[in-house]
């Protein structure tokens, strides 16, 4: 009887341990994310460069092409996501490079924290920073292009969140991969942009419709599914591979 009870309890104990491990891992991810955000708020290295880049590109495009309302209806999603992708890379480049001075990456890898939790913490911090740059860029975009993008605010926010998560997951894992390469500022975009093509295509299609004030229709729902699928697949892959990337 006792043995039976023990064998029944074992899976429950295993599940409880797994749940405890998951919660502990998430807490550690939040500590890493908070550390990265605090460091970035103090130095403003990445956010200033990224924000300045995004705003300058939006302004230059506006002055150089002065797009009409019809042209903008077609271009808006593409323009926004090209700006987000390029500006985002400036944030992502700093993600693991921030650990290089003083060999801080050693201390993180030495801590009893799963590499997946480290990765998730880094990705969360990058996500917050890139999303902040995107929201400011949207304000600038609305003012200079006279676009009322906020008419479909919540669906647009959903697309921004999904697209940005895809961008930060890919960017963070490749930031880890290229951290010890001398030309990492060059290598990261070369590796990241081709991988991002499906997510960028989906985000552009969805954003074009939403920025022009149209609700999401059934014919673009497939792009939304594709964006969700992209995020799920690449998040899972990154969580599995990050230990090999960081430790070899």
């Amino acid at each position: 009887m006792g043995a039976l009870a023990t064998s029944r309890d074992a899976p429950a104990t295993g599940r409880a341990a797994a749940a405890g491990g998951f919660v502990a891992g998430m807490r550690q991810s939040l500590f890493v994310a908070a550390k990265d955000l605090r460091a970035e708020i103090r130095t403003k290295e990445a956010i200033n460069a990224s924000l300045a880049f995004a705003v300058v590109i939006l302004l230059l495009f506006s002055f150089a092409f002065d797009p009409s309302e019809d042209q903008l209806r077609v271009l808006s999603g593409g323009l926004l996501w090209i700006v987000f992708a390029f500006a985002g890379t400036l944030v992502l480049n700093r993600s693991f490079a921030r650990e290089l001075p003083n060999d801080c990456l050693d201390a993180l890898v030495a801590a009893p924290v799963p590499c997946s939790a480290l990765f998730l913490g880094k990705a969360l911090a990058n996500f917050v920073l890139v999303l902040a740059v995107e929201l400011v860029s949207l304000l600038v975009f609305g003012i200079f292009y006279n676009v009322r993008w906020y008419l479909q605010f919540w669906p647009l926010l959903l697309v921004l969140v999904l697209g940005t998560w895809g961008l930060t997951v890919i960017g963070t894992i490749f930031s880890a991969l290229t951290v010890n390469i001398r030309l990492r500022e060059l290598m990261l975009p070369l590796l990241v942009y081709p991988m991002l093509i499906p997510a960028l295509m989906a985000a552009m299609q969805l954003s074009t419709q939403l920025v022009n004030g149209q609700p999401l229709s059934a014919d673009v729902a497939v792009w939304l599914k594709m964006l969700v699928g992209f995020d799920v697949i690449y998040t899972a892959l990154s969580l599995v591979l990050v230990d090999t990337v960081l430790v070899g």
Partner: protein
């Protein structure tokens, strides 16, 4: 009980073997001084023992387990060439961060205790980027000791420390040894290291050419190991 073990460890950088068939065992509670000239493979071996790199061949273990095992990592304290603390954070914030990552019950209390023990309590809120090199090294020591590790892997721990800080670190290491902690340290400062060491391993071009107990001759003349066992 064997605390730290390396069994037939090889490490290649390209075709170059940085470590060649390293076999080492360190008993719990002992202190191994890893000595050798520049490029002998000390840092590579310590990084493999700490789980930062995997060996090309062979295996290493800490208390019989893989160094990358999460529970094993909680038992290791490491000081490397870099101080491994963040310039943009204060000394207190740095130690609190690592206290949280090591799941300490009260990270703030542990941080304050180790800031006091390393003589940094007055500058606890100062950003690390404003610290002198010696202060940064003391903070690295505090970080390594913070979680009460049972194995300390130290790569040149006396670097950049003045005589008072060296004495402080030696006291901390003696206290750690007295509580059963195992220490493996690489150093070029033989006198300081051999005062503490119970065992000595001499590395030359990636091979262990001597491994044994530290003798009275070694303590009296730090150059003895090089002179006696040479570099072949």
């Amino acid at each position: 009980m064997t605390a730290v073990a390396a069994e037939g460890v090889w490490k290649f950088y390209g075709d170059f073997p940085a470590l060649r068939d390293i076999v080492l065992e360190t008993e719990a509670g002992s202190c191994l001084a890893l000595i050798g000239r520049n490029g002998a493979g000390k840092t590579t071996l310590l990084r493999i023992l700490a789980g930062f790199n995997r060996p090309g061949r062979g295996r290493v273990s800490i208390f019989g387990k893989e160094p990358r095992d999460t529970a094993t990592r909680a038992r290791i304290g490491f000081i490397g060439h870099g101080i491994s603390v963040y310039d943009e954070l204060s000394a207190f914030e740095n130690l609190c961060l690592f206290g949280r990552l090591y799941n300490l019950a009260d990270p703030a209390k542990a941080a304050l205790e180790w800031l006091a023990r390393t003589g940094l309590e007055r500058v606890k809120d100062g950003l690390v980027r404003e610290f002198s090199r010696g202060m940064r090294q003391r903070l690295a020591v505090a970080r390594a000791f913070l979680h009460g590790p049972s194995v300390l892997l130290l790569d040149e721990p006396f670097t950049a420390l003045d005589d008072r800080a060296i004495a402080m670190l030696q006291t901390l290491l003696r206290d750690a040894l007295a509580t059963g902690c195992t220490i493996v340290m690489s150093t070029h400062q033989l006198r300081e290291a051999l005062e503490l060491a119970t065992h000595v391993a001499l590395l030359n071009r990636g091979r262990v050419v001597f491994h044994g107990e530290r003798t009275a001759e070694m303590a009296a003349d730090p150059g003895y190991v090089y002179a006696r066992y040479g570099e072949g």
